[in-house]
Amino acid sequence: MIDGLAYAVIVVSLVVGVGIIGLAVADRRPLTLLAYGLVTVEAAALIQVLVAIVQVVRGERPDEPATFVGYALTSLLAPPVGALWALSDKSRWGTGAAGVAALVLSVLTVRMLQVWG
């Protein structure tokens, strides 16, 4: 893990998540904007995991390897799967749930930093 990158991922996830929740509160559902936001979150998660893989290949090791791998996989899968499932409900609550799914990445990133050591 690179601290600066992790903080950037946290910020991206927070901005997108809170932004989507804001759209939900305003009862708006701009699908293109939502797609851009969610793809950005997924890209951030992917970059972070790829960087961690490179670090491991170079010989670095997380303090808690099993837990870290679990979080890394979850960070790739949970936000997009959660957001897509949430958006299949057409109400503003579905939009808001997609925002929460994006926020999950920031929580997971905090935990990944902790277990990396």
């Binding site: 099993a66 837990t67 679990g70 979850t74 949970a78 959660g82 499932w85 949430a86 409900d89 057409k90 109400s91 503003r92 609550w93 579905g94 808001g96 749930a97 929460v100 799914a101 999950v104």
Partner: protein, 142 residues
């Protein structure tokens, strides 16, 4: 409120997974996932350190999974599963929360429900209350 019964649909209890339920199920899903992962790691790597806490972690994980499945699916069976799971969850967080504060020695390592879920922003305490209210609300909107 959105998510009501659409005109062509058979009357009956409203789906617990639409409207606000979508958000509720998502949060339950997150807790199911994290509680399951946490319990699995605890039991696999250091069960001897705090057996009681880890067994309770596993119980909490099962309860969250059942609540998620029960709320996400529709039908009387799913509703019953959700009601039982959410009720057990509420009792669990109250009992474990109280014991963890009264007898901290029994809990050398934390569970989701320790200190009424303070490690998770008290969401574990609020969630079952919202879950029961939501189950009642969707039942009455038949």
């Amino acid at each position: 409120m959105e998510g009501g019964t659409s005109p062509g649909r058979r009357s009956g209890p409203a789906r617990t997974s639409s409207g606000p339920g979508r958000l509720l199920v998502l949060v339950y899903g997150i807790f199911a996932l994290s509680a399951t992962a946490r319990a699995a790691v605890q039991i696999a790597t250091k069960f001897d350190e705090a057996p009681l806490a880890y067994v309770l972690s596993a119980l909490a994980a099962v309860v969250y999974v059942c609540a998620t499945v029960g709320l996400a699916r529709s039908g009387p069976g799913a509703r019953r599963l959700a009601t039982v799971a959410v009720t057990v969850e509420l009792i669990g967080v109250l009992v474990v929360g109280t014991i963890s504060l009264a007898q901290p020695d029994d809990f050398p390592d934390a569970t989701v429900w320790s200190g009424y879920g303070e490690g998770y922003g008290f969401v574990p305490l609020v969630l079952p209350v919202l879950g029961l209210l939501w189950l009642r609300h969707t039942r009455e909107r038949a």
